[in-house]
Symmetry: C2
Subunit: 322 residues, 2 copies
Amino acid sequence: MTETDQLVSLGEIEEAAARIAGVVRRTPLLPASWGRPEAPLFLKAESLQLNGAFKARGATNAVLLLTEDERGRGVITHSSGNHAQAVARAARDAGVAATIVMPRHSPRVKLLATQALGAKVVLVDVSERAAEAERLRARTDAVFLSPFDDDRVIAGQGTVGLEIAADLPDVATVFVPVSGGGLISGVAAAVKARCPDVRVVGVEPELAGDLAEGFARGERVVWEPEQTSRTIADGLRVTGVGERNWRHIAALVDEVVTVTEEQIKDAVRRIVLDSKLVAEPSGAVAAAGYLAHPDVCGRGPAAVIVSGGNVEPSTLADILSA
Amino acid sequence: MTETDQLVSLGEIEEAAARIAGVVRRTPLLPASWGRPEAPLFLKAESLQLNGAFKARGATNAVLLLTEDERGRGVITHSSGNHAQAVARAARDAGVAATIVMPRHSPRVKLLATQALGAKVVLVDVSERAAEAERLRARTDAVFLSPFDDDRVIAGQGTVGLEIAADLPDVATVFVPVSGGGLISGVAAAVKARCPDVRVVGVEPELAGDLAEGFARGERVVWEPEQTSRTIADGLRVTGVGERNWRHIAALVDEVVTVTEEQIKDAVRRIVLDSKLVAEPSGAVAAAGYLAHPDVCGRGPAAVIVSGGNVEPSTLADILSA
């Protein structure tokens, strides 16, 4: 098997797009007034997606691809919040039982929303979430749906890339926030196939910059949760990208950059005040990368993925008051 | 002349749509999760319009309709903010000088944005703005562009209605915020022509409810600025709808309702936290009407116009913290 054979294909992403079309929303790509003249800025508003984050795409695709036997066993996953809601909704709509392992300190807004969608929520310390999910999976025989390290999930997230390529065919650079790597894997696979000259840039919080370190060294690096949990970007605290995600990133991504906490908060303010969209801190990380790293941004239109908008009111109020 | 001859026609609105298409944005109509089952809720996100408010539509249409002579004389208007920015931008793009009379206590964000667009800003007490604009107009021979009482402006704002009718042909009720009446005049003319069974509901802050009083009495009523300036919805403090606007409203609008200050703030929170869009208080008034008045909302899909998103960071932070 060659390296490319191990990557999600354009065809799989196109099939995912058709599969989830009746469920997830096609989100707008909005021109922003605060870009640089040489790189006009467009925001892919996944904050306006079902449940306020891109995660609905991958989760819906994965749940719709379950076999009859798997549907009967139910699904289990772990997530800091947005994937949790996405799996809960997709499972509910498909009549499948869902168990979600969430970190004890997840934003309350994400926790309540997941429960409201009918999922069983199990709270654990952040460092225990993968182990607890595996323990429950083994006990219940439920199907584990990785938030990122799963071809069905990657294909679903890749539909964001298809929409960017359709709406902005001459896009020169796409900035994508990175945590486990599901979004950037799918988006890179889609846009590199549709727009061969496009550059794909991954952006991480400096405080959770394990992919940036690994990308520079040419090997997958995994930080400890004690490190990654320091960032305000609660959706990007996953420790290390997945194995499948690393393969996609190594093959397809052009650059990985990091941004500071202040740059993330500044980007939230720009998105809220100048583009009138609500972004959670994780959702503003790609925009922070665009603002902080003009050097890695090619000339020509830049698309920045605003990956989610599920922010605590008090967090947003604090950022706006600063 | 019959009464209908005095109203802006569907044809004029369609012409406006074609005229302004290359300048203003076609905004998304976004499904919202917090509607009632019998009246699914859709938000027309004019907060995502150029300069963060629907005003770009009417101002652009009016400026593009200026004669060569009028262009040379420049334009003048008064506005609490969003029309100011819209005229400033349209004039700048057309190479026409613009003078804007603004209330001294306009939100700073709107004042600075208007100046940044190259307009000359004159600050006066809110009660003086119309008189000062007329004084300056007489002195300079500039063309006065009413923020609402102008067929070119009404036709431009009506393009919002065309887009709602195109995206949601079975819309049953449209909720529109009312100040001077430019938006509701145009929207009612458009949607009543395209969807004859649709109900159009105007919504005002209770503290600036002069149209509600006048609509109930069947005559145009104008409150004093000291009354209307009490509402947090700074874009809706105009005293009385215009003469042209009254004719449109009397002929086309089905209901006018009011909402309290608390209902407006609650609606801001719903739009921000549940739909991930930034709304200024004025921009949330129509949504507040939908939430507070299920009785006036027909069965079937409801479209609510989120008319703008230009809110002071501190105001938004306060509303989110409450």
